[in-house]
Amino acid sequence: MRRRDFLAKLPIAAAGAAAFPAIVKASALGLNGAVPPSDHVVMAGIGFGMQGGGNMRNFLGKSEVQWVAVCDLDDTHLAEARDTVNKHYDNKDCATYKDFRELFARGDLDAVSIAIPDHWHAIVSITAVRNGLDVYGEKPFTHSLREGRALCNAVKRYGRVWQTGSWQRSTDNFYRACELVRNGRIGKVQRVEVGLPSGHYDFAGTFGQERIEPPPPELDYETWLGPAPASPYCKARVHMNWRWNMDFGGGQLMDWIGHHLDIAHWGLGFDLTGPVEIQGKGEFPTTGIYNSPTRYWVETIYADGTPIIIAGGYPEIQSGTKWIGEHGWIWVDRGGLESQPARLTGEVIGPNEIKLYRSLDHYQNFVDCVRSRALTIAPAEVAHRSASVGHLGVIAIEAGRKIQWDPATETIIGDPGAVRLLSRSYRKPWQMPA
């Protein structure tokens, strides 16, 4: 039963009395450390080709979560995910689905974890929130700018809780770096450098396997393609390496924009805005089926004049995020936090200074917010704004000219050619839901 259905049946306390139904046993409300069954967050997962399994295992470790189902278009992935859940609970209760619509029709879910190729993000996520589900969704937020705005609007329309997999925000290094910057430890920020990976990485071990062949029987390839243009099956096109093809993903730029650029935004207080000018260059493969840039350089300017460079494959831009200010710089990556002057990294932010949203566990933050209905540390609008910079970078690279952007209205100014790139056409029979 969904937790809100149980909660709806609880008697309402009389006005003036403690709002605590006396008939409910204390243990049912989590006293003595137990998680009451009514307070379980009932979850399922969609997509187990790469990140989905890890996300699920994190949620399985939360005593407040009850995981009931898995959904994937690949029977092998589906079986592995189901077995993981059953082993965790020591039963055989985990349900399996190949169609996300059937999963949502169950009616007993509170939330869903979505880790599917980018080209599916918007359709599945909007359908999820329309069905009253809170979502833990992987980045990049969506596959185009227009999809991003549509999904943000849908999350708001249905009053759902959204957490993006931008988990760096729940990591101490990044939190500290951003608080230092926000509290002016380096003075006015004059420039930000965001270093992302370059090239294509063979996650699935299928590079070069581009022979056209029938899809394997365990994969519903036609559905896997979904709204993307039809392309004949070859091993190198799917599972994990799909991200190197712009029909399904956005290469390293879009894979990582929701990490290090997201942190750049957080440190600057730019979570709800975007650049006003974008230009970029990219280098592309000249053979093979992958068409995302292997090397790229995107320059953005924000309304207050702050430039942010996003680059992959340029050693002069260090991997991670580096804010360069009047009085020094701060750099952060997963492996470290450094500053000039060096003492800055040891500085403590006092209680009377700007304190950023603190989350020590990205998954727990989502679960807590599902229960409290508060904003997560990486909500939809923030994720959209981070991804938007990547999309604009792709547009600028594709258009080959500087793009003027109005972040308030989310429109490209004076460039009808570039406007065509704000959204994608969907292959039949798929359509953007509402």
Binding site: V348, V419, K428
Partner: protein
């Protein structure tokens, strides 16, 4: 205009051009286009199957890309690509062409693409391009084709009309809403996307007769359309839409909740009353919708009525409402929040305590301390977090005052914790005074707090405390505090001065043992001489403490001392510890010349007698990949106890050597 102006203007133009050239040249170069003609490229891709022979695809991309911004060349490209669509080329090749028409196609492309819509196998690729061609010509083409196609092709054209926000399509789409269930969903979504009052009217009219499984889609589309009405400042029409949806109790809960959110958003002056009505109503979903809109509706000075409702709500609604209240001025909400923190259900108390971190003040501090003492688990954590977050120096003063009143030991410990979290440096003398407390818990917390607010000048006080003795855990905490204070000394060579001074003053073996341990923790190289001397003392305990300190030394300055211990100590434990420390030191120096590091590892090998240390050697070798490392690993390959590790090391070293 004077004679200087033209020159000035020219100069400015030249400078601007130069600046532009510099800016452009500072960007990395784009991949250049190939030299083949378009005919040659199209000929190559005509048999393209979308697999390994994809080089011609990139040639086409580069060719079109290089010409897309030059009008005449773009037009020529468009013409040739359209001609290609009429040939016998593969579907994949034609799709490749349509990708480019998506970007460069104009009105000229419309007729050809429109014709392709009638072919089910070509419709997708045609739409891929046509959907993005701006202008009414493309709109008309889609509308004209709509009645001529069936099935999923029709659905796609419907979707395209919606994506293009083609208002001319509203009549046709409205007709499809009710005429044919096959297209109801698609037509509804398209109408919602297009928006406007006509679309909205059509959607609401079709809702009662829509197939059951599609009613949520139609309703969702109606809400999407309502958002468009709001954007067009037609709030009344939007409100009406939401009201109608809300009245339909057969719609799913998620839709009705969204309709309530929308209704409140468009209710204008009535929104506040609507919110309180829903809060009182008791329907959890409607309450949730109402709570989500509070911050948009209630001004800071008007939140009172909502606060008054808080105690009467179900506990889960309180849990959701309290964080919202925390965003309001403290004076308005604190009484309600404080009451919830005192008297609510456990989850409510936790939520309220968290909120007090934002809305509390100095007067809240005693309650939070009392709660931190009394509670456990999430409630205690919430109280402590709130204490850390309370803003204002008055809070600091309140905590200091509480400290001065000598509260219970439990309360004292919580206050000391808050002092640390809040960095109340002015409390230092009181905190050091707590080292004399009779309560072990207070003493330990005082030690921990001093790590944050203490300074190097406090080291002597803490040392004196340590040398008095105490439980092992307290001594360990004290040593950690000394080290923390020592690390605040700027000069690395001065960090252990206080400890060294105490070492010269005391002859008590127990005290000297403790001091040796602390010197090892601090790792100030200038104290190595003292430790070396301590190795020659008569007391076995002091010798042991000195040896352990040297073996655990954090810098390379103790290298020779470690080697001395390995080679000459009569105590096997000391030799072993020193060897492990030596290996740890080598591993940490990853920027040494490989040959020098391997020479040290070889020496360590000579003195190692156990498999554990030899495995550490093998673990370190790949970090210093060189022929000498390979040789040493090869020697260890012959030892059965470490054979697997040796082979792994050899493989890694070889891989690193060949990668260079």
């Amino acid at each position: 205009m004077n004679k200087a102006d033209p020159i000035t203007k020219t100069t400015i133009a030249i400078v601007a051009l130069m600046a532009f050239a510099v800016a452009v040249s500072s960007l990395p170069a784009q991949t250049p286009a190939g030299g083949a003609s378009l005919d040659q490229i199209l000929n190559e891709i005509s048999s393209f199957a979308g697999g390994i022979e994809s080089a011609p695809f990139w040639k086409l991309r580069d060719y079109v890309y290089a010409r897309k911004d030059v009008q005449a060349e773009r037009a020529e490209c468009e013409t040739r690509l359209l001609e290609f669509l009429g040939t016998n080329a593969t579907a994949v090749a034609k799709m490749a062409v349509c990708r480019h028409l998506r970007l460069i196609g104009g009105d000229k492309s419309v007729p050809v693409l429109q014709g392709m819509l009638l072919d089910r196998d070509m419709a997708d690729m045609a739409l891929f391009a046509l959907q993005k061609i701006p202008g009414t010509t493309a709109d008309r083409a889609l509308l004209q084709t709509l009645p001529k196609v069936v099935g999923s092709v029709k659905t796609s054209i419907i979707a395209a009309l919606g994506d293009r926000k083609c208002s001319d399509a509203v009549p046709a789409l409205s007709g499809l809403l009710r005429a044919n269930a096959e297209f109801t969903g698609a037509a509804a979504l398209a109408l919602g996307e297009i928006g406007g009052e006509s679309a909205s009217t059509a959607l609401l009219a079709s809702l009662p007769v829509a197939p059951a499984e599609l009613r949520p889609v139609v309703a969702a589309a109606a809400m999407r359309g309502a958002e468009g009405l709001v954007a067009a400042k037609k709030t009344g029409a939007a409100f009406s839409t939401y009201e109608k949806l809300l009245a339909d109790r057969t719609l799913p809960r998620s839709i009705r909740t969204a309709a309530m959110i929308g209704k409140i958003s468009t209710a204008g002056d009535k929104a506040a009353t609507m919110i309180t009505d829903q809060l009182k109503g008791g329907d959890p979903d409607m309450q949730e919708a109402a709570i989500s809109k509070i911050k948009d509706v209630y001004r800071p000075d008007a939140i009172g009525p909502v606060c008054n409702l808080l105690p009467g709500l179900a506990w889960d609604a309180q849990v959701r409402l309290i964080p919202v209240l925390a965003g309001y001025p403290a004076a308005r909400v604190m009484p309600a929040v404080l009451q919830a923190a005192r008297a609510g259900a456990p989850p409510v108390r936790v939520a309220a305590l968290n909120a007090l971190g934002s809305v509390g003040d100095a007067s809240t501090a005693p309650f939070l301390i009392e709660t931190a003492v009394r509670a456990t688990g999430p409630e205690q954590t919430a109280a402590r977090n709130a204490l850390a977050l309370l803003r204002g120096e008055a809070v600091d003063d309140a905590l200091l005052a509480m400290l001065g009143r000598k509260p219970s030991d439990e309360a004292m410990a919580e206050i000391l914790l808050a002092v640390a979290e809040r960095r109340i440096y002015s409390a230092k003398s009181q905190v050091t005074g707590c080292l004399d407390s009779t309560s072990p818990r207070v003493r330990v917390q005082a030690l921990r707090t001093l790590r944050t607010i203490g300074t190097p000048s406090d080291m002597t006080t803490v040392l004196t405390f340590l040398l008095r003795g105490g439980s092992d855990s307290e001594l360990a905490e004290g040593a950690t505090t000394i080290n923390a204070l020592a690390q605040k000394v700027n000069s690395p060579d001065g960090r252990s001065n206080a400890v060294k001074a105490m070492m010269t003053r005391t002859r008590d073996p127990k005290e000297r043992v403790r001091l040796c341990g602390i010197l090892g923790r601090i790792g100030d190289d200038s104290s190595l001489a003292l430790l070396r001397a301590a190795l020659n003392e008569e007391s076995d305990e002091i010798v042991d403490a000195a040896a352990r300190a040297i073996a655990g030394w954090p810098t390379p300055a103790a290298r020779d001392d470690m080697i001395q211990l390995v080679q000459k100590s009569k105590i096997e434990t000391h030799r072993l510890l020193a060897l492990q420390g030596f290996l740890r030191m080598i591993r940490s120096e990853r920027y040494r010349k490989p040959e020098a590091a391997v020479a040290d590892l070889r020496m360590a090998y000579v003195y190692s007698t156990r498999a554990e240390e030899r495995k550490l050697i093998l673990g370190a070798l790949p970090n210093f990949a060189c022929p000498e490392a390979l040789e040493l690993a090869g020697v260890l390959l012959g030892e059965p106890a470490v054979k697997a590790e040796a082979q792994a090391a050899i493989d890694k070293i070889r891989a690193r050597l060949s990668a260079r």
